[in-house]
């Protein structure tokens, strides 16, 4: 069960090899979380993350392999995650893919893949998570969105559009869960220095996976619906969203 501070006893991570996911698992396990289920695509990376979770003090760690391009299996992946521990207090949806270069936007297959991994699969998974939470009468889902989806930029608009969809979807699922004992927390990190962004030049207010994990934990304690990481991005994007399109278009991105 989640305690008075929103700390879970069991966590299911979809996208278990992501740096933010690993940082959150370390933080939760250090705080007393005992059961961890890690789901992801890369068996080696998952084994690595599982070893790390055990080392941090988790008593039970299981892994589930899946491919986020197979959307029909999203529900089954969630089901196997829940059945591994019986009751899941917290689900982190950290599935995501930052696509490679401007050429991708001209390739329909790659555009579809980016939207599938960043929006379609997570959305399908969250709908199944919400079902389990209703059954349990309790549960918290944390969905990794991005400031890239708050106002979509030319430079990463496929990714940004998919995140915009996921952000809106997850916040609305949270509304549908009102009165169910369960809730969704949407996290909007800025530029995070991680293996996903390796080789890219950092944007202003760049942050780290550890800092994002701490902000998530604080958001869980506060019962927040949306968390910006770092917090100052909230004010910045309030202003950026007000910019007229012709000016926004000309901003260096």
């Amino acid at each position: 069960m989640n305690d008075a501070f929103g700390r879970p006893n069991s966590v299911l991570v979809l996208g278990g090899t992501s740096d933010i996911a690993r940082a959150l698992v370390r933080e939760l396990v250090a705080g007393g979380c005992k059961k961890v289920v890690l789901a992801g695509r890369d068996p080696t990376g998952l084994a690595d993350a599982a070893t790390e979770a055990k080392g941090a003090g988790a008593e039970f760690v299981a892994t589930v392999i899946f491919d986020a391009s197979d959307v029909d299996q999203a529900g089954a992946v969630v089901d196997s995650g829940f059945s591994a521990v019986g009751r899941v207090d917290l689900v982190l949806i950290a599935v995501g893919l930052l696509y490679d270069d401007a050429a991708d936007e001209r390739d329909p297959v790659r555009v579809a893949r980016c939207v599938t991994v960043n929006f379609t699969w997570p959305a399908a998974a969250l709908s199944r998570v919400a079902h389990h939470f209703r059954e349990q009468g309790t549960g918290r889902a944390v969905v990794l969105s991005s400031v890239a989806g708050v106002r979509v930029r030319r430079s990463n608009f496929v990714y940004g559009s998919a995140k915009a969809g996921l952000d809106a979807y997850a916040r609305t699922v949270n509304q549908t869960l009102a009165g169910s004992g369960a809730a969704v927390l949407v996290v909007r990190p800025g530029f995070v220095r991680s293996k996903m962004t390796e080789g890219r030049s950092a944007a202003p207010m760049a942050t780290t996976p550890e800092a994002v994990a701490r902000d998530i934990v604080k958001g869980l304690e506060d019962g927040a619906e949306v968390v910006w990481s770092p917090r100052t991005l909230r004010a910045l994007f309030f202003l950026l969203r007000l910019l007229p399109e012709p000016i926004w278009r000309r901003l260096p991105t």
């Binding site: 007393g32 209703r134 009468g137 309790t138």
Partner: protein, 479 residues
């Protein structure tokens, strides 16, 4: 007693009973809410049926347990059962006549101490043990084996209970200190996990008036306050101290000590003698549910405490109403809203006499963590009950109300858990919303004994609560 439903009815009844209603429940601290189907039987006999039905399946998957709930005054998650069934006992409200010689009264589980006290006072009987609020049920009082300001003289609530009717998944048991004593004592403080209490025999205390004769002392530091409590305990049936947790340095742990006993008829002034047993006033004030989070800050708390400390003066033999002495928390009926959306936790622990230093240490740790404490109460316990999960043990008990929010609060409480467990102390489950399985097991070493009794009446683990799941109470391996 009606027959329990057949196994077929039990398994097939998807929603418990026709009157079940899905609701979000939380404790008094308003943290960690969860949903359950709530049923509110009017006949104690039905509870045996609902317990059974919860044992069945729901949509083909195993049921998610059942727990009883009274007035919801447990601070944490003791009276909620996520995804399962919660039996609201408040419709079980009958009170029998009070035996004029022994003071024994038969009460159903949903009767509140407030009601029992009002009925009792009409013929000069007072409840044997009274916590800081009258808004708890008899069922809850037994499940938490509650204590009051007279613990050092009279023990906790279940010492004044001679018989309990307990509905369990394997049948209805009539238990008491002499009948199935192990099941009776496992139920005392067992947090509802041995069954649903439907009825009890409670021994009331004879009083001449509904007034208290109270001595008040102001103490400037924790050593003086604790010495004062030890001294007044030898002379008074009731005692308690309010501690100013915001005071620092040489004034750390300063506080106000109240000690007293029921006033006799001759203690009352002439104008009161005509109606010596007038009942406590009904609650008048209610707070609006509009409090923004975070108004309770170290600064506001210390300003309030300063004013409270200064207004209290040492005096002896003051006459006070029962309500003002015993139930100051009832003055504003929904004061728990003060803490806003995040809610609050109460940390109540007990440590033995030899470890009284843990009390000032707790104040110090919370101050250093930047966690303001809005109310804290210090008291001494006498000998405990035989219940394996009953909270009181002889020594010092300290209860602190702590708003959720300061980042240092959770780590500070985890550190305190280790300190308290390390000296053989424990945390009170009726207040708890954040303890962890390993510290809980260290604090309650007789858990195995509790579970062997519990398994006898509930072999399938049908009785469950969010508290039990969080702490792994029912997962303990056979002793």
């Amino acid at each position: 007693m009606p027959e329990p439903p057949s196994a077929e009815t039990g398994a097939g009844a998807d929603s418990g009973t026709a009157e079940s209603e899905e609701r979000t429940l939380s404790g008094w601290g308003r943290t960690s809410p969860s949903n359950a189907r709530v049923i509110a039987p009017e006949d104690p006999g039905d509870i045996f049926g609902s317990v059974l039905r919860a044992a069945g399946t729901r949509d083909g998957s195993p049921g998610r347990g059942v727990i009883a709930r009274g007035l919801g005054r447990s601070y944490g998650d003791a009276a909620q059962c996520a995804g399962g069934v919660v039996v609201d006992t408040r419709n079980l409200g009958r009170i029998g006549p009070i035996d004029p010689d022994s003071g024994v009264v038969e009460v159903e589980a949903g009767v509140s101490l407030d009601t029992l006290l009002r009925v009792g006072l009409q013929s000069g009987w007072f409840i044997p043990v009274s916590p800081g609020t009258r808004q708890v049920t008899i069922g809850g009082a037994i499940a938490a084996d509650i204590h009051g300001k007279n613990h050092h003289t009279d023990g906790s609530f279940c010492r004044h209970v001679t018989s309990v009717t307990l509905a369990t998944p394997t049948g209805v048991h009539e238990v008491g200190p002499d009948t199935e004593p192990d099941l009776f004592w496992a139920t005392a403080g067992g947090m509802g996990l041995t069954g649903v209490v439907t009825r009890a025999l409670v021994t009331m205390r004879k009083v001449e008036t509904s007034w208290m004769r109270v001595d008040t002392e102001r103490h400037d530091n924790i050593d003086s306050l604790m010495a004062g409590l030890e001294r007044v305990d030898r002379l008074n049936r009731y005692s308690v101290a309010w501690v100013d947790c915001a005071a620092v340095g040489s004034r750390l742990g300063r506080g106000i000590l109240d000690a007293g006993d029921h006033a006799g008829a001759s203690d009352l002034p002439a104008k009161r003698r005509g109606d010596p047993l007038s009942p406590p006033r009904r609650r008048g004030l209610k707070m609006p549910n509009l409090v923004p989070p975070g108004i309770v800050k170290p600064l506001t708390v210390s300003a309030f405490n300063e004013a409270w400390f200064r207004k209290s003066a040492s005096r002896t033999g003051q006459l006070r109403r029962l309500g003002g002495f015993f139930h100051p928390l009832d003055a504003v009926s929904n004061w728990n809203l003060l803490f806003g959306r995040r809610g609050f936790v109460q940390y109540q622990f007990v440590v033995g006499d030899a470890h009284q230093g843990v009390v000032p240490q707790a104040i110090d740790i919370l101050q250093k963590a930047g966690a303001p404490c809005t109310l804290s109460v210090l008291k001494r316990f006498g000998p405990g009950d035989p219940g394996p999960l009953s909270f009181p043990i002889p020594g010092w008990t300290f209860a602190l109300d702590l708003p959720v929010g300061p980042p240092g609060l959770r780590p500070a409480l985890r550190r305190l858990d280790d300190i308290v467990a390390g000296v053989g102390g424990r945390v009170y489950l009726a207040k708890d919303a954040r303890l962890e399985p390993h510290t809980f097991a260290a604090m309650y070493p007789r858990l195995g004994e509790f579970n062997s009794v519990r398994r006898r009446v509930d072999p399938d683990g049908v009785l469950q609560s969010d508290l039990a799941r969080r702490l792994g109470i029912c997962e303990d391996s056979p002793a």
